[in-house]
Symmetry: C3
């Protein structure tokens, strides 16, 4: 079983790639959890975007009043969009970086700092923490992705 | 020609990876089609976001009235954003999953259910279907991605 | 060192994959720069979304007036979202395309046209240029991604 797996999927036997797969899965799951938090606030705050979502509250004007924006819902949605803007580039550039032959220790440093920074960013957004908490955690994750992009371009450069 | 391809790109000769590439391309194309549907509703409803997009309707106040939001346009845009929030994690986690050595039949089951669920989700959003149609199709796709993430973390775990 | 890298990461030694990694990194970096441009306009226009971001302007009503939308900020944000809707599918489909064994010259043509089109799209959005400048640059990038998706489905098709 194991031999067969190694033959068909060598990438996953590479330690850097395994580290990448672990951290990439963790931050993608973290991003996906934002959907559940949005749903939680939509239901508890009774604030929906689609008429068909308010039908369980009755018909007509009674249901219409739940078609509204709510500050808590909007806050989670901004956090979710910020994840898309930052975790998606990390996934993409991180994949190319993991395939560019970095040292395992250097790669782990990048993946761990990024993952920690994005978890802090979400906490800073949702609690919310006073600035510059959210700003700094954003900047740390952003810088890690740029550092990986530099390594990718240095290794792969073929224009 | 074929021998050369196999040498340089072994991944695409792996059946699980071919299945992944097929379904990933299908859902990414489905996501991209949301742009065309948005454009269709923007033009037919005459509802634009940018002043330069309304210039063909004349100058000044006459054009300004088309800088507005429209319920149909906003509905498609919410569907598009939901695709970004769900299809992008599927692409990322699905790639790692396809490289983690799953059985072909198990992998196909995951890819097929996700793809079907997301097509239903789009239909439920655009028609629109009464709830819980959209909610259920969202939950099915979401669960499939989590199931793949579990397999990735079990196989790759290197923190 | 080099031998070790080649052993563990053969993909990056493939010329098509190196070209893909180069252009994918460039467009992902371009997309990430939209965050900095948004921050620049938020600060110079004093237009924020989160109460904690306005605290340096004082407390209460004085700070509250900076919780507002600004046309320049919204324009950059629309450009950023358009990047997510187009550059992310390019990254995903481009990766599968690079692994599907295309000729290097054909692949370079795709990657170069897409990258040029998206840089033009950003310029057209931010300057802004009159239409159909932005529309055409969007359509060119969109078509390139579809052309790659066609090659992926032709090579990998396993439903």
């Amino acid at each position: 079983r194991r031999g067969e797996m190694a033959k068909s999927t060598q990438l996953i036997d590479n330690e850097v790639f395994r580290a990448y797969a672990t951290y990439a899965a963790i931050v993608l799951i973290k991003m996906m959890l934002m959907s559940l938090i949005t749903a939680y606030f939509r239901i508890t705050r009774k604030a929906f975007s689609n008429p068909e979502d308010t039908e369980s509250f009755g018909k007509g004007e009674n249901a219409k009043k739940y078609l509204r924006t709510d500050p808590d819902v909007e806050r989670v949605r901004r956090g979710h969009l910020n994840d898309l803007e930052n975790i998606v580039p990390f996934f993409g550039i991180g994949l190319l970086y993991a395939l560019s032959g970095p040292e395992l220790s250097t790669a782990l440093l990048h993946f761990r700092i990024f993952t920690g920074a994005r978890i802090l960013h979400t906490l800073a957004y949702l609690i919310p923490l006073p600035q510059p908490g959210r700003g700094l955690s954003w900047a740390v994750g952003y810088s890690v992705t740029f550092s990986m992009a530099y390594k990718v371009l240095k290794t792969a450069w073929l224009l």
